[in-house]
């Protein structure tokens, strides 16, 4: 039976090894390949604690296995009565003091990192984004820039961007595993965290606090671009003029449908403080539809006709009259051509 246990443990080691070899998960999603300051701080602590704890585990297992092998009842010794030991002060002191020392080794860097990540001294001179969590989408309002986006958060590489987060309904939690650990987005008490990306790219963001039926579908992306590209993107976004007269039939039809179905009661195109529904200014540039699906016309038509099929429990279902196939098609064409900037998730490496 001991052989069994031994084999099982070997299997464990092998399977964890296989995991490491097969990669640590999807790049730009996994916390095991950090590409930002927060994620790196966390991983440093994860590695430190894992190493120390594996050492403790190894000590426990060695004593355990030796005890089992040496002291298992043997044939012909049934009447043997072991010595009834009460305890041993030296041993008990050792296994009290050594763990305390190990914990101090863990506690000191933990406290240092905790204060480091909570430091918002640089917030005033940096880019500040006011984040609102909603069932089941994210609103990003660039403070002082008159830019609002939904689902895609654009930031420049190598800079600390401060996120000031509040929720409009239930508690959410903003998590971009490859860039930083998570922070809750509460209905009260604005939380501030910063993210600092080391590499350009598109990073997966998740909602980590249970928020309802579509909790698992509340994905967003962080689009990390060079500082120059970021400047360009900001300029492009600020140049959008929603009042601009339509220059094509698609746009004209689309604008008309958008009005007729009262879409703008919730959705803004162009800068607007209203955030009842996602801001659609750069909808055609989005990395994903609703944060999860490919941004294709088919998917968009499906969404417009019945959002419930894609995000159960969303707040859009039933807020507008049922669309005919034709209208949904036109509306989709209109929305997909909302592409104000050349700086897109695709250009950033999506």
């Amino acid at each position: 039976m001991l052989g069994w246990m031994g084999k099982f443990r070997a299997l464990f080691l092998l399977s964890s090894l296989a995991l490491v070899l097969s990669g640590c998960g999807k790049e730009n999603l996994t916390a095991l390949v950090p590409k930002g300051y927060g994620a790196e701080s966390s991983l440093d602590l994860i590695i430190l604690t894992t190493v120390i704890m594996l050492f403790v585990f190894a000590v426990v297992m060695v004593i355990y296995v030796i005890a089992l092998v040496r002291f298992r009842k043997k044939k012909g010794q049934e009447d043997y009565i072991p010595k009834q030991v009460e305890g041993n002060h030296t041993l008990e002191t050792i296994w009290t003091v050594i763990p305390i020392l190990l914990l101090i080794i863990i506690a000191v860097p933990t406290v240092i990192a905790t204060f480091d990540l909570a430091d918002d001294a640089g917030a005033e001179d940096a880019i500040n984004v006011n984040v609102t969590g909603n069932q089941y989408w994210w609103h990003f309002d660039y403070a002082g820039e008159e830019i609002q986006t939904s689902q895609d958060l654009y930031i420049p590489v190598g800079e600390r961007v401060y996120l000031n987060m509040l929720s409009s309904d239930v508690i959410h939690s903003l998590w971009v595993p490859s860039l930083s650990g998570k922070m809750d987005v509460n209905p009260e008490n604005e939380n501030t965290m910063y993210i600092e990306a080391y590499e350009e790219g598109v990073y997966w963001g998740k909602c980590a606090e249970f928020c309802g039926p579509s909790h698992s579908l509340m994905d967003f992306k962080v689009v990390v671009v060079s500082p120059e590209e970021y400047e360009e993107w900001v300029a492009d976004m600020q140049n959008v003029d929603p009042e601009e007269p339509a220059d094509s039939e698609i746009v004209e039809d689309g604008q008309q449908l958008f009005e007729e179905n009262n879409c703008m009661a919730c959705h803004a195109i162009g800068s607007s403080p209203v955030a009842t529904g996602p801001n659609l200014t750069n909808f055609g540039d989005r990395s994903r539809l609703a944060g999860i699906e490919d941004l294709s016309k088919d998917n968009l038509v499906k969404w417009l006709k019945n959002p419930e099929l894609i995000k159960p429990g969303n707040k859009m279902t039933g807020k507008y009259p049922t669309l005919s196939d034709e209208d949904a098609d036109k509306l989709a064409d209109y929305l997909l051509q909302l592409q104000p900037s050349d700086i897109t998730p695709d250009s950033a490496g999506n």
């Binding site: 704890m53 005890a67 089992l68 933990t110 509460n186």
Partner: protein, 616 residues
């Protein structure tokens, strides 16, 4: 089953159990009911794992999935783990201290029925429009805004069963303080009794926090209050504090009795006195004390600020010290002993590596900045299943195999016992080990689906396969229990070479437990008599009349009354007929209290002559 009950008809047995105040029968009731809820919670777990076997699966809908995870967590903690442990405590603890029953037999019965009706209450929700769906933690505002009545059932169900648990805790405290046999000093009590004592204190201080929290939630949802409504000046975060001030000690309420069970088993099957008994007792007390200081480590990402996060991180790490002391004391109990490996001991041996891993990840999640990544992901799911399954469920199963002969008079089948252990043990590690990595690879918990092409497919598939192994193990255990009840080997009084008092009397014990209270001469009293004395306990009193409590149907009726009233509370706002339930139910409940208060019930005596006629 004793011969006496076998000869009775079904109705007579049913009536006997509905009215019993005997701690052994109430213990069995807890085990039956807890076992049933354990199967239910397991079924919910299997549905969750089947949903997650492949990416973007549509086995169940998002709404139903949220009901599953909520009910799985709530059922396993409140309706399975708690009552199964309370069952073992009820059945065994009075025997271990040499008592004839608990201090308040009536209250004991009331506690059980309150728990059972609370559990039924929760599960009625499946049939009345949907189970609670805000997670077992019921964070506001999700819980306050959840549509339908699911969360209302959660509130009323937990309120009822929580009241039952509180009664149980108070009862055990008084029992252990007052009813120890002559010579059974505190520092001679078996570890299982000690942990029962300590967790009773925890129940006394932790459960009122839950009660208050549930009342606030109830007022918010049913009577238009706004404790957690930010728009009306409330505060939603305060729920998390209230919940975890209860919730964290609850973890220790579950795991400490399991520690007690393992301590007794290691000692018995190593044929050795528990190594460092005094240290073990103080480690238990210390863990319980620190358990109240660490609740906010569930809230590192809430935004409490670096000072609070650091304090709670360090306080949490401190708990690793007494826990480590326990692990090493168990190892040193094995060391130099003469180890017998049977199915009870297998669970205890399987516990050591499993729980050590759970403790390791416990220190890892205590490091607040690392926890920013772990929090609310499958890493945490893996961590708490290592602790709660690896600690509590292993402990319950160990206790079941160990005390089955004492409780039911028959020994569980060894072969099936070992098969259960190995399939469950392997299945457990298959299911949960990989989840540590899933979490770090970006899979948050409570996700109805995970998307394709995110590197999470293999891990989830392995995890689901493991769950089927666990289910197989549980089914084998079930078959074993049924087989044993029909054809199992009859147990002698002391099948394992026991060291503590419960093994000094027949299996199952007579309804009065001890004909004469035993005289305790030290730790492991039966062992002392075996080695130094004449092999059996010396009576501490001459044979005399034994005072016994009468059975009572009032606890059942009282609980039923509050159960009916709960429906009234839930539906009063929308259905006028609900007031009938509300006032009718309260009248039954409060009326039962009145009857109980006014009616004199002095119990009865078993005379000396009757006791003399009973064979030894």
């Amino acid at each position: 089953m004793s011969i006496a009950t076998q000869n009775k008809g079904f109705a007579a047995v049913l009536w006997d159990y509905l009215t019993t105040v005997d701690h052994k029968k109430i213990g069995k009731l807890y085990l039956y009911a807890g076992g049933l809820f354990f199967l239910l919670g397991g079924l919910e777990a299997m549905i969750i794992r089947i949903q997650l076997i492949e990416p973007e699966n549509d086995f169940i809908t998002a709404g139903l999935y949220n009901e599953m995870i909520t009910m799985h967590g709530t059922t396993m903690i409140f309706l399975a783990a708690m009552p199964l442990l309370l069952g073992l405590m009820n059945a065994i603890m009075p025997l271990q201290i040499g008592a004839r029953d608990v201090a308040f037999p009536f209250l004991n019965s009331l506690g059980f029925w309150m728990f059972l009706f609370g559990g039924i209450m929760l599960n009625v929700s499946w049939f009345t429009g949907g189970a609670p769906d805000a997670g077992w933690t019921a964070y506001s505002p999700l819980s306050t805004t959840s549509p339908g009545h699911g969360v209302d059932y959660y509130i009323m169900g937990l309120q009822l069963s929580g009241a039952g648990t509180l009664m149980g805790g108070i009862n055990f405290l008084v029992t252990i303080v007052n009813m120890r046999a002559p010579g059974m000093t505190y520092m001679r009590m078996p570890l299982f009794t000690w942990t029962t004592f300590v967790i009773s204190v925890l129940i006394l201080f932790a459960f009122p926090a839950l009660t208050v929290g549930l009342f606030l939630l109830m007022f918010d949802r049913m009577f238009g209050a706004a404790f957690f409504d930010v728009a009306l000046g409330g505060n939603s975060i305060i729920w998390q504090h209230i919940f975890w001030i209860f919730g964290h000690p609850e973890v220790y309420i579950l795991v400490l009795p399991a520690f007690g069970i393992f301590s007794d088993i290691f000692s018995t099957f190593s044929k050795k006195r528990l190594f460092g008994y005094t240290a073990m007792v103080f480690a238990t007390v210390l863990i319980a004390f620190l358990g109240f200081m660490v609740w906010a480590h569930h809230m590192f990402t809430v935004g409490m600020g670096p000072v609070a996060n650091s304090i709670f991180a360090i306080a949490t790490m401190a708990i690793a010290v007494p826990t480590g002391i326990k692990i090493f004391n168990w190892l040193l109990t094995l060391w130099g002993g003469q180890i017998t490996i049977n199915s009870a001991m297998l669970w205890a041996l399987g516990f050591i590596p499993t729980f050590t891993l759970g403790g390791m990840t416990g220190v890892m999640v205590a490091a607040s900045v690392a926890d920013y990544q772990y929090h609310d992901t499958y890493f945490v799911v893996a961590h708490f299943h290592y602790v709660i399954v690896g600690g509590v469920v292993f402990g319950i199963l160990a206790g079941c195999h160990y005390w089955w002969p004492k409780i039911f008079g028959r020994i569980l089948h060894e072969g099936m016992g070992k098969l259960t252990f190995w399939t469950f043990f392997i299945g457990f590690h298959l299911t949960f080990f990989i989840q540590h990595f899933l979490g770090l690879m970006g899979m948050p918990r409570r996700y109805w689906v995970f998307l394709e092409d995110q590197g999470l497919d293999t891990g989830n598939f392995i995890s689901t396969i493991g769950a089927f192994f666990m289910a197989f193990g549980v089914i084998v255990f079930l078959i074993n229990a049924i087989y044993t009840a029909i054809k199992g080997e009859k147990a002698p009084a002391d099948p394992w070479g026991g060291r503590t008092l419960e093994w000094a009397i027949a299996s199952p014990p007579p309804y009065y437990n001890f004909k004469q209270l035993p005289l305790v001469r030290g730790l492991d009293p039966l062992w002392i008599e075996k080695v130094e004395g004449k092999g059996k306990m010396t009576p501490a009193e001459p044979l005399g009349d034994v005072h016994m409590p009468n059975g009572s149907f009032i606890p059942f009726v009282m609980s039923l009354g509050f159960f009916i009233a709960s429906f009234g509370f839930i539906y009063h706002a929308t259905h006028d007929v609900a007031y009938l339930f509300l006032f009718g139910g309260m009248a039954i409940g409060l009326g039962s209290m009145l009857v109980r208060s006014l009616k004199d019930d002095h119990g009865y005596h078993i005379t000396k002559e009757e006791l003399e006629r009973e064979a030894d």
